[in-house]
Symmetry: C2
Subunit: 269 residues, 2 copies
Amino acid sequence: MSSKAPIGVFDSGVGGLTVVKEIMHQIPGETIIYFGDTARLPYGSKSKETVTTYTRQIVRFLMAKDVKAIVIACNTASAFALETVKAEFDVPIIGVVKPGAAVAADTTKNGMIGVIGTEGTIRSGIYNEFLSLTNPQVKVYGKACPLFVPLVEEGLIDDPITMEMARRYIGELIEYDIDTLVLGCTHYPLLRKTIRKIVGDQIALVNPAYETAKSLKQVLVEHALENDEVLKSDHKFFVSDGAEKFKRFANSILPCEVVETKDVNIENY
Amino acid sequence: MSSKAPIGVFDSGVGGLTVVKEIMHQIPGETIIYFGDTARLPYGSKSKETVTTYTRQIVRFLMAKDVKAIVIACNTASAFALETVKAEFDVPIIGVVKPGAAVAADTTKNGMIGVIGTEGTIRSGIYNEFLSLTNPQVKVYGKACPLFVPLVEEGLIDDPITMEMARRYIGELIEYDIDTLVLGCTHYPLLRKTIRKIVGDQIALVNPAYETAKSLKQVLVEHALENDEVLKSDHKFFVSDGAEKFKRFANSILPCEVVETKDVNIENY
């Protein structure tokens, strides 16, 4: 595998772009092949079996693009399918949950950690599992926020309705006296301002995207796959539906211009 | 084809159950095979090509169950794919749009009609098309309400947040002096109370589900496929994901008990 090969990154939709943004900042020499499964989103309300099938198809698609490593930039898919695809494919694959859990365990002072995510991520208990491994003393309070993804995909990022939903979802976590809150869905960093208004200044917000990019860098070094030349970036973006809408969104999030987004029939992989 | 054969009904999720309920009331002798594409919902934000592919797979699945007629109980799929699958399959297939448009044209007195639906349904302009055919004088005002489906699927049916979204979505239609409002998505009749509070008593609400069941009855008579014996009902419910969650919802909507819901791998059809 060449160190010049691209990195595959995927999510159910636009959320994974928050991870892409961190990768572009932290390891600017790398080229990204992104896939957003917009035809089948949201993943968060779907079963483990379904999300695993989807993840397997997307990994096959990215492998066909000769990627040197894959980032599952979706908490639900990381929770449900990471171990399965790691065992099935011969390429380094990382998820967003483990890096996020590690930084949360480092951040908390009182050991009380809140996690917000999709129904699937929260029900899986995976943050709890990783946090307990790091520090058996921490107490983890999870809360599913199923409307956050549709609200972000609708662009209601700074809106009284989103604020009211955030108040309901996060209000009960604050009562548990948490000092750290994990944004356990890659869409949620886009709601950071709203969430900050609800939690105030005393609660640390953990964005797994940042830590995932750091973790990716480490994995590339370990496998001697780091590309240390800064090349002319040739990032590519694919979606399973609505390429134009995705492109507009991507251009509002990413530091580089997304010139073209292509539709892919992902069920064929 | 035997008149004892069942009727296939499908939607992206639970919304089509509002149509099933009407069929059970109006033609109680018929047996229903229902499919909810819960793994791939929502349809409303997806492209015509994607929704057509999904519709074709579901029609194949229902044909394999030997149905005598099919109801596309989803406005988006009716708008995008009805004509295509009607041409491809040898079974009577009806959608919800034409019956809904017919009753709206009959209902309006001032010729000003509002239509609410998903992004796909509204963008397709299909209600406009059918309404203009019936009466070229009517003026149609469409408004996409993309958050209504996630709000219904989350059970926020009678909630201040849904009320606020309804006020935003429907407020501008009221200003156009409409006297008739088409609930152009099969999920929306579940929000009827909230919508009624916004529009007041002077605007008629049209629920295409009622008219679709009437239209189905007619089609069965025309094809001599009506089952006039009332049999022990043996309705069957299939979904592409989350059978248990679907069953709970179905039992809260339908007049009969849904005992079992089965998961189907719809991508194989």
